[in-house]
């Protein structure tokens, strides 16, 4: 059964303290892995798509990487405005997406 597990569930960082969020997955035939940012009471905002192991994507202070079993979202020198829940999802075809439960990130000034 396809499954996505995100860790940690919650993370508190000081401003400027870099860290990584983990997304472990088991899926039969990965077509894509996605990272989203979700602010409280709002819909998820698309960040990245990764298609194959070894691929990396960057956007401002965020960098996403992918291996055959997991993906990492690296946050470099975070700012308070990076505080949000970060969601990971996988797609294996036939319009079915499996989402993790997210990592709640809080960046303190």
């Amino acid at each position: 059964e396809d499954q996505v597990t995100q860790s940690p569930e919650a993370l508190r960082l000081q401003e400027g303290e870099s860290s990584s969020l983990n997304c472990s997955y088991t899926v039969s035939g990965l077509r894509g892995l996605f990272w989203y940012r979700q602010d409280p009471g709002k819909g998820p905002e698309f960040l990245f798509t990764l298609y194959s192991a070894g691929e990396e994507k960057e956007k401002e202070r965020l960098k996403a990487t992918l291996t055959k079993k997991e993906s990492f979202l690296h946050i470099t020198a975070p700012k308070p405005e990076d505080s949000a829940t970060y969601l990971c999802a996988v797609y294996s075809g036939t319009y079915k997406y499996i989402f993790g439960t997210g990592t709640r990130l809080k960046v303190l000034a």
Binding site: V4, R31, G32, F34, Y36, G41, K42, G43, P44, E45, F46, T49, L87, A89, Y91, Y95, K96, Y97, I98, F99, G100, T101, G102
Partner: protein, 112 residues
Amino acid sequence: SQTIHQWPATLVQPVGSPLSLECTVEGTSNPNLYWYRQAAGRGLQLLFYSVGIGQISSEVPQNLSASRPQDRQFILSSKKLLLSDSGFYLCAWSHGGSYEQYFGPGTRLTVT
């Protein structure tokens, strides 16, 4: 650019009442459309998806139904709401071979 709208933003309904949530997409044609429910502490649960007008696939048997009367309109309905239908409902669209989904702002439904 593409935009996705959902309404209403919030809704409080009594048990046993009907439900209609609407989602529309602008700036694209023939999108794939999805309805999700997000419960606290749980991942997004795919409820329905549609690849074209009148084509609806259900992922979870439940008290809800979906319809797609127009290319860029997706509606989530119920004839009689249950307490367990409370949650945050999200509409999303995708297009082409890139697979990524883009989400609407969501509807917070509270069934009392």
